[in-house]
Symmetry: C2
Subunit: 605 residues, 2 copies
């Protein structure tokens, strides 16, 4: 039954050798890898305006110089990530770069913050996608959490099915998004200059007394959220067509140009039209409405924005399970993240990502604005570590022209570090939780690692020396009466050993006497030992009895406890029977050095 539902939702199991990705050309790669970065324009400008409006509408003109600074930062990131691409042609995420060049500890910080960040990507993108939908249909505003959760469920199923083959399909909405936004920018600009649209730009260069440096830095750091996602290309180099690094670098530059152009355009339009942030309508929605009215172009733009945000969430679904796999392979995360599911995806990583991001969406009530600061700070920590790693690499290896490269990465590192610090400084109230959470994650990584190392030590075998060694066997059968189940178990016990004993635990003298009489009458050729339990506990007397046997026979014998168990025909019938045998098994296995055997007796009706 559950098998059939699973088959319907995620498809038939796939053979291991069906695992083969097609290689990506530049344009297709751009489509698949850029959705996270490009989708950031859906909220980047808005984030700046939300901060500036605190100082009054007249302060909104500061969005222009701030946008310039963001663009400069984008350029720095693109240039330095180009260098990473050429240095790590097999894929250089922050985790690998930090592990390779800085050390274990930094790599764990990078890995941990990236994992958290992918979770936030899903939460932010599904919330922001929901915003795009509810801006168009305000009546849905109260169902935001539900819509975002539905998105996450859909993404989960899609990814459990495996979506690698559908690359070409994904390209369409991305290009539709790019074209729509450029159309919006062009027509919006024309309208503005021909006076066809209401012009309400605040006076530029008005000096606003209450605009502090703090506020400007805060607005700048908010704007940096538009840069999240630019690292995606450097992780995916092996998927590119040859020459992979060159194609990847070209794709990265293209992406940077498109992102910069869109961000500039949206910010200018928002300024010209005097857009103010509104909880119920996104900035993009307001610009689109001012430009086109609520016509089909408006709904088209909201639609593709929602879809691209949806796809941005989807990129986390490829990145998270892969990073979790790498961490699990290095023994920092549970093995289960290494298991491929029926459809060859890392199902456990996919499911974990979905559950965590769904929790975030529920806790933050789908509120994009409270999620984005966490998201952005989570991105800039690995950015910084990755740059630092590259710096160390250049100094260590000193390849041709390393000085220039070092300068680039040093500038990159200093910039991203500054932004991280600005985040902490200006938005501490919103981002402090990251600095509690990250050390916990790293601690867990270390703890898990130590456990795996310890386990491996204890399990390791010397093939030449450690041979099997044979001991004797003493068998104990706990019985609660004389039934076919017990007969079945006693029969089996007699095949194992000549040293078999049955144990009966009675709660009163009467039942004990009866049992002894019946056993004598049955005479199965095995001794019965009776114990009395005044506290109605079965485990306590049994444990004491096993202790005694261990003490007497433990040296020369294995001690086996045979548990007679009847198996009901239908699983739900099991609730009708006491689960003593299960508890007994769990207890004995965990706390005593005995072997536990379940001898089943199948009921047929």
């Amino acid at each position: 039954m559950t098998g059939k539902i699973k088959r319907f939702l995620i498809g038939r199991p796939m053979k291991s050798n069906e695992l083969e990705g097609e290689k990506l050309g530049k344009l297709k790669a751009l489509a698949i890898l850029s959705s996270d970065a490009l989708s950031s324009v859906a909220y980047g400008t808005e984030q700046i305006l939300i901060v500036l409006i605190l100082a009054g509408a007249a302060a909104l003109w500061y969005s222009l110089p701030i946008a310039l600074a963001v663009l400069a930062l984008l350029a720095i990131l693109i240039v330095s990530y180009r260098q990473t691409i050429f240095a790590y042609p097999t894929g250089g995420g922050a985790y690998i770069v930090a592990k390779d060049n800085i050390g274990k500890f930094s790599s764990l910080i990078a890995g941990g913050s990236l994992l958290v960040d992918y979770i936030l990507t899903v939460a932010v993108s599904s919330s922001a996608g929901t915003d795009a939908i509810t801006s168009a249909f305000p009546v849905l505003h109260d169902d935001r959490v539900l819509i975002a959760l539905a998105m996450i469920v859909f993404l989960t199923l899609m990814n459990l099915r495996g979506v690698t083959e559908s690359a070409s399909v994904l390209a369409i909405p991305i290009y539709a998004f790019v074209v729509s936004i450029f159309l919006l920018i062009i027509i919006g600009t024309i309208n503005y200059f021909t006076g066809g649209a209401p012009a309400a730009a605040p006076q530029m260069e008005a000096t606003i007394s209450n605009v502090s440096l703090f506020l400007l830095l805060k607005a700048f750091s908010s704007g940096c959220s538009a840069l999240t996602g630019v690292e995606a290309v450097s992780n995916a180099i092996p998927n590119f067509r040859d020459p992979a690094p060159k194609n990847a670098a070209a794709t990265l530059v293209m992406m940077g140009l498109i992102l910069g152009a869109m961000f500039t355009g949206i910010t200018l339009l928002a300024y010209w039209y005097g857009i103010r942030p509104d909880e119920k309508a996104t900035v993009i929605s307001q610009i689109a409405e001012a430009t086109f009215g609520r016509g089909w172009m408006y709904f088209m733009i909201q639609g593709v924005t929602a879809i691209i945000l949806f796809l941005a969430a989807n990129t986390a679904y490829s990145a998270f399970p892969l990073l979790a796999f790498m961490l699990a392979k290095d023994k920092y995360l549970p093995h289960m993240f290494m298991v491929r599911g029926d459809r060859l995806g890392f199902s456990n990583g996919i499911i974990f990502l979905s559950v965590m991001s769904a929790i975030l969406v529920v806790v933050f009530e789908g509120n994009t604005d409270s999620l984005i600061p966490l998201y952005a700070v989570g991105v800039f920590i690995p950015f910084t570590l990755s740059q630092l790693g590259m710096m160390i690499r250049w100094i260590k290896h000193k390849p041709k022209g390393w000085q220039g490269k070092l300068v680039v990465n040093t500038i990159g590192m200093l910039t991203t570090l500054s932004i991280t610090l600005i985040f902490v400084f200006t938005k501490f109230a919103q981002v402090w939780v990251v600095f509690i959470f990250l050390p916990i994650v790293v601690y867990l990584f270390a703890k898990i690692h130590r456990h795996y190392e310890n386990t491996a030590d204890q399990l390791r075998i010397d093939l030449a020396v450690d041979k099997p060694c044979v001991k004797g066997n003493t068998v104990i059968i706990p019985v609660s009466g004389i039934t076919q189940v017990v007969r079945n178990t006693v029969s089996y016990a007699k095949t194992l050993s000549d040293s078999v004993v049955a144990v009966y635990i009675g709660f009163d003298d009467e039942s004990i006497r009866k049992m002894e009489e019946k056993w004598e009458e049955w005479d199965p050729g095995i001794r019965l030992i009776v114990l009395k339990s005044r506290y109605r506990s079965i485990m306590r007397p049994l444990r004491k009895f096993i202790d005694t046997v261990e003490w007497k026979k433990g040296e020369q014998d294995n001690i086996t406890v045979l548990i007679p168990q009847f198996i009901t025909k239908h699983w739900w019938e099991a609730v009708l029977h006491n689960q003593t045998s299960l508890m007994m098994r769990a207890y004995l296995l965990n706390y005593k050095d005995v072997i536990v055997t379940t001898v089943p007796f199948h009921l047929h009706k």
Copy 2:
């Protein structure tokens, strides 16, 4: 850890022979057994008024004749239950009377509706107790569900601890309640006649055009909720001091008189003071406020009302687990309801009752008025069946003076049957769910019974004929590598049989080749069989292999699967390892006729 918390909350385990109740005198019995019945005055009058107010304030005078009818019904119930007490001196709940005299089917209906009813008792009483509190402190009105749930949690803990010893303590609040209500009635009456209180009684005998017979019947059936709980005495006869039936009968009559007097008094006061039902203040609260103002007497009355409702819920905690025990003993409910916990109470019944009533409180948002109709109809079904059973008994056994007794029970049966029908007729929209639910419960009873009968048939053994019979033994060890765990298991396997085989399931040729080489090098004296799984499933190839072995050896050998398992030092470390062995065990036990042995290897760090 959990052990310590449990110990702190519910106390140390008790020995079986500590199970001994003290016998009750009349006054103490009255205190313990009457809380359910007496507490009904906290909502009985209100229920009548809620219906009448629908026809306008002038219709409220009809509460007086309706109260008279309820009193008559009370008299009938008391007289007929006296007869049951003498006929069933060992306790005659509706389940037993119906089982004894009518038949299995009726007894299951009686038992099912009583179980449901006890759940509703807890839900109604904790909600009504909360109403008493929030009437006094309106600021708590929004936290009603939480308060009611806290009450249920407290009751659960108290009952898991075992409260039988505290009978004398329970008597105090009950008598405090009775005294307070009588004081309220007396002083309220004096105030009314001396004109000290605002008199706002509606004109009596005003003919209200829109009062239909339907409305009056509905109001009457609502008022019958004041009678819930009168059956408690007849269930508890064995707890009385000798002569038990006589003392029980006297207690029943006393309880009836007190209940009748309180109900009459409250209804009269409500009429005199022109009280109208109010969602935020109970009728008792309004009367007390009108009589005493918001002084200490007012808060005293609200306090004892809350406490007695709390105790009423507590009676369900003695009745439900006992009835569940009886049904389980007759094989209509799972055995687990027969197990006594550490403190000798039927813990499973207590916990089940709490969970179900908590669900009801949450679903109905602690709304007393929607719960009471369900509650009342659930009470009158077993009332009717119990009376019918007594009628049949008199006709069958024909003891001295049986004709008179038959008449009494026939009148009782017809009255309670009529009230049940009036409920269905006037409140179908509120009570229909009972008539869906009850057949389901009875169906489940029957289904559970059949399962137990079938199981017993299959487990039964003929001591003279069915002796153990010995077969051979073939052992299969699934291995995933060569480790100390495997060595340990192979060592054990060699003690069991000479026919042992290890099975390795590889996902690719490379890993299979390596495993074969290592096995050869290790040379443990056991053959290794390798299987390839292209779908990364371990279960499928293993199952096929076992099928083959079964087909070859099943006739003369038991087939034992040894599962090598390492046990982590801390239980939570288990999440770090694949739980394949658990799944394997569950699958093999349920679907194959093999014996499953877990050979543990304990990790020490």
